[in-house]
């Protein structure tokens, strides 16, 4: 009975591991296949492990440049979002003040704005401000887009941290800033990592604004580069898979590095009343 349960547990884990890792491994294997091999069988093994598709990926699209742009834009937008949300959400979760409801309402309302509805005003404003087709422009948009969701995640997270800790700190003579930076922020690390991760994934994959608010190679990001392999009536899946493998790697690496904190964050509060 015990063995059966263990086998079942391993089967269950193997199944979910397969679902999670399968597509990545499949994309990796496909990145070595020729176009004909991809089309003839999705699950076949490549005839050779040559790097021709990786060379082709660089040939069709300025992928290296767009990759660097993505790193800078996504990195900065994550930093900005985390920095602003960490402070703003703390105040909202802990203190009562005038207009608090209104602020929350504004942040909630911004969640409902479709990208298409704001693209034209943004396009024109950015041109007037001289930040059209710049990394800074995209950093601002992505940070603004990421703040509402991250804000609500962090507000909930701060509520799981007992106020007794802050009260003790104040009794011991700590200032407000000391309490926030030395007591609260270290405790909120898993929550901050979660919002950083969510922001990273969302902005790494964002396509619409990266297209609308740029016009050259200086600020375009990876999702646009991937479109280069999908021309009218002429897709190059082999190069596309190679490009996908190269561009998906950072997301995986970030997750691997931060996974402990993310898991902690996701499970934190699960057993609290």
């Amino acid at each position: 009975m015990k063995n059966a349960s263990r086998i079942l547990k391993y089967l269950f884990m193997a199944f979910f591991t397969f679902i999670a890792v399968g597509p990545i491994v499949w994309a990796f294997i496909s990145s070595f296949k020729t176009y004909a091999e991809i089309n003839s069988s999705a699950l076949s093994w490549p005839s050779s492990f040559q790097l021709d598709n990786y060379k082709a990926a660089f040939q069709y699209a300025p992928i290296a440049k767009y990759f660097v742009n993505s790193i800078i834009i996504v990195g900065c937008s994550v930093l900005v979002t985390v920095a602003l949300v960490a402070m703003c959400a703390y105040i909202v979760s802990r203190f009562e003040f005038k207009m608090k409801t209104l602020i929350i309402l504004f942040i909630s309302a911004s969640l409902m704005l479709p990208a298409q509805a704001i693209s034209q005003p943004l396009f024109m404003i950015f041109q007037k401000l001289g930040i059209f087709d710049t990394k800074l422009g995209l950093i601002i948009v992505y940070s603004a887009m990421g703040i509402p969701m991250s804000f609500f995640v962090m507000v909930s997270y701060y509520k799981t941290i007992s106020t007794a800790l802050e009260e003790s700190a104040y009794i011991d003579g700590a200032t407000f800033l000391q309490t926030f930076f030395r007591i609260i922020l270290p405790l909120a690390k898993p929550g901050l990592v979660t919002i950083a991760l969510l922001q990273f994934i969302n902005t790494w994959n964002e396509f619409y604004f990266a297209l609308m608010l740029t016009s050259g190679d200086t600020a375009r990001t990876v999702p646009i580069a991937l479109n280069y392999y999908m021309g009218t009536f002429a897709n190059n899946y082999s190069a596309l898979f190679a490009a996908v493998v190269m561009t998906v790697l950072p997301t995986i690496v970030v997750f691997i590095v931060l996974q402990r904190q993310v898991m902690e964050s996701l499970t934190a509060g699960a057993v609290k009343g």
Binding site: Q120, F123, I139, N227, A234, N236
Partner: protein, 455 residues
Amino acid sequence: MRKRSVKRLFAAVLAGAMVMGMAACSSSETGEKDSGSSGSDGSAQTEDSGKVVLNVINYHVGTDYAAEYYSYLFEEFQKTEEGKNVEFNFEEIPTTDAYNQKIKLLISSGDLPDIVFNGGNNITELAAKSGKVADLTQYFEEDPEWKGLFDDTSLEFNTVDGKIYGVPVSKEISYIYYNKELFQKAGIEAPEIAYETWDDFFKACDALKKEGITPVGMDTADMGWLTNLWMSALIGTNGEAGSEWMNTMYPDDFNTPEVEEAAKTIQTMFKEYTTDDAVGGKYDPMATHFFNEEIAMIPNGPWMIPDFSQTEKAPEGFYDKVGIMLMPGKGMEMVPTPGDMVGASGDEEKIKAAVAFLKFETSPENQIKALEMTGLQPVSNDLEIPGELTESDPLMAEVLKIQNEAAVTYGQNQAYWYQNTIDTFSTELPELAYGNITPEEFCKKLTESAAKNQE
């Protein structure tokens, strides 16, 4: 105490570095910006060098079927008398879908490039009515030889309120490609030109099915290109009324007997004659089915021909297995393409240079070059096709021959319908295919969708 000061200093330096970095993100890029949003640097008409700078948004990039041809075209234009003083400022947008998203935004904001390509969707009317593209009528009138390259239908197609806005660069035709070997396997002989009737066509489909061969390729996603071609043919070859309807620009009543009948046949085709992945599928995997000899017939245009001999896509020798026939009743989809336009920048020099490029693009030599390099059909009717082409590409030669046999020609939805109706067609096709809605309900949804444009 000292430790705290160091920390503060460190934090201040970090914050400063971040702010400066972000400022640099902006300022350095503004300096190095090589392709401003088309109209954003409208003042850059002529540079210090005295050259006219034309902003172009080019979607023929990456793996696009015409990427190599357009690269050739831009380069060669600059070697001509009219083009030697022209410089291009490119914005690349891979895929027509992305291009259409962006160009619509630029039409609304008035920041159109100097050369406005018409990418897949017909944006001529939208652009013309916005007043952001130049009226080209006078340029046609001033150059009768150039105007003579286009027939009336092609020019009318690009005319809005009596003014010509678009320069048609090719003609779009489509018909059926079939696999000769699969037909042979099923013991049926393909007609020389076309099946006389749709009944004959479906008898052939039944024979193929009996041999375990899937007869036709269909799709629903990405505006349902293949299904659109079948449906257009079913309507267009259904008598005079059907032909007239399928040649009507922006139809608004889809509940006609011909359209409803066609929708009913499409429903049957989904259920009986196509692959399981047709519902939800798009063109690409369906083309792969044809290359892999898993389906016997696929409707498409001449731009597909180069793929037959590309061993990366199709097996060696596949080109020789492919035959061509018109739609049943000798029907052929033939529409003038939405033409390329010129942005109304207000700068006469720029407009003239852009028109010169469009003249170069549509010169007889370049129409032939486009046919050779991409399979795009010449927009002019009486061009002499070089003998070498018929020898090197017999299928293309057959296309040029068979199109003269067409008894009926008609349009297709992506050229003639309202954009939102095309979208409705694509989103409602799965419902029709699964039998969740009747053909009449399907047509009603299209009618309702078209009506929104009248409001």
